[in-house]
Subunit: 328 residues, 2 copies
Amino acid sequence: MKISDLQTPALLIEEEVLDRNIAEMAAALPGERLRPHVKAHKCTSLAKRLAAAGHSGFTCATIRECEGMAAAGLGTDLLLANEVLDTRRLGALVADGARITVAVDSPETIQAAVDGGVDEVVIDVNVGLPRCGIAPTQAGRLAELARSQGLNVRGVMGYEGHVVGLVDGAERAAKCKASMELLLAAHADVGGDLISAGGTGTYAINTWANEIQAGSYALMDTAYGQLGLPFGQALFVLATVISSSQDWSVGDAGLKAFGMDHGKPALPGSDVWFCSDEHVTFAPPRPVGDRVRLIPAHVDPTMAYHERAYLVRGDEVVETWPIDLRGW
Amino acid sequence: MKISDLQTPALLIEEEVLDRNIAEMAAALPGERLRPHVKAHKCTSLAKRLAAAGHSGFTCATIRECEGMAAAGLGTDLLLANEVLDTRRLGALVADGARITVAVDSPETIQAAVDGGVDEVVIDVNVGLPRCGIAPTQAGRLAELARSQGLNVRGVMGYEGHVVGLVDGAERAAKCKASMELLLAAHADVGGDLISAGGTGTYAINTWANEIQAGSYALMDTAYGQLGLPFGQALFVLATVISSSQDWSVGDAGLKAFGMDHGKPALPGSDVWFCSDEHVTFAPPRPVGDRVRLIPAHVDPTMAYHERAYLVRGDEVVETWPIDLRGW
């Protein structure tokens, strides 16, 4: 199948760029030094390429992601890096032979792990992002509680999500260090093998964590594209120009084809004015029928809108990949 | 099933509010005076309630929406209010007995209708929104071209999308009038029965169009909630508090559960700080395990993220509705 045969909007993944990104990261963080986050792409076909590059453990954000990864044969070491109050579906995966570790940051989430049949946890530590995670000074006590309930505490995680997107490299490095000092202090109290943290924006500078949870690097987006990282843009949304005036054109990809929290998609060489539900208006105008490739501002919520992505090489569609980890 | 049995995040639709919204609109714009837009909810179960309220024609934004509506037995008069360059899937619906009318605004889209086997069109007229639609003064010539190709030109459409969300009622009314004067001028040149326009923000003041394409009114969102319309908030995203600190709490619904182009969701009585992929951080904090109901800022791209919605009444889930018109 040719790209020109695709109906639009369509997610395209440039295979050459994807493979280069995967190889670049696997060289920097080989094997278990990277625990790739599947929330960025929600695609087991892509995850299999990461496994083939040597990464056997994965990070997930939802129960559905864990279920899909286990079903795809990628369940040897899944970290659900999120708090869950009903872990029964995770316990079912454990009973089926998957290794599932869930983040806990409270007595309630510890109890939930026990109740649902999940045996392994990490203590989620707040390292500066106002989100989940217990205060670093209380992490040791929580680990004791978990162990007293019979859980295997594998270590700590602490995501420096307030740092990964900082454009100023020196600021990013300084704040990453400050966050990881908090995480290491917590780890001293908690123990365990895992010190899990990091993202695409800090993968090269976070030398304190012993595994990095980056995911976006494989596909990239305009936000991470500003950071000067050695990863190319592999993901595009293909749109057809369906209407043109003297001053602008309209492509058939809009708010339901792009995660918009980081802003509008980009179209190199054009000025994107705005998106509507099924439209993107941009200038200067192009002929009706032209195809354009837009770059999402944020990869994760973009992938979550699409049923499938097309792996492309040149003009050819070489594989069709279901985005099979969507939903909850 | 009780609401408390649902896994989160979960889309909730309050049945009483929904039915009241539908009745309010059906009283204002009965029968064919309303051509409800299904893009707002992408749900044939909801569309069936609109049909039961007397509306037999529907507006769609995508081919998939037309296919799903026809498959659900709601294909007696579907207007695809968007330009399409490959209409073969629409032609297949026509061959199966559905009535499909497609918007055209160029020789290319007219040719596409002919090539794909769609016999009926409306001339899409630009009435001020920089998006699709031919200039009003050229609409008559385009209608002639369409008729010369054997197409039935049913009339005009012209969406005042730059007007529907204006919070100042007087400004909204004045700009709606200006837009509709352009549409009526085009209609004088085009002819045909249909003068199709409008949305939830202008349904009561757009007295020039003879059918209104509103869709959001059934469920509503925080953006339309600012306009003082007689429609209640029927749509919520249920989240569970999975983590709490002294200063904030985190619910398990984030960027993949809410369309974010109109901004963050709202939580009455709370201050929503930000969303991450699977989290919403808000203050003041609540106990871990509490359930909260967030209001989306924009209904359309919110629905498109979810596989299903739960119709609820009191504490009960009374029906589960697939969001079956997603994708393209």
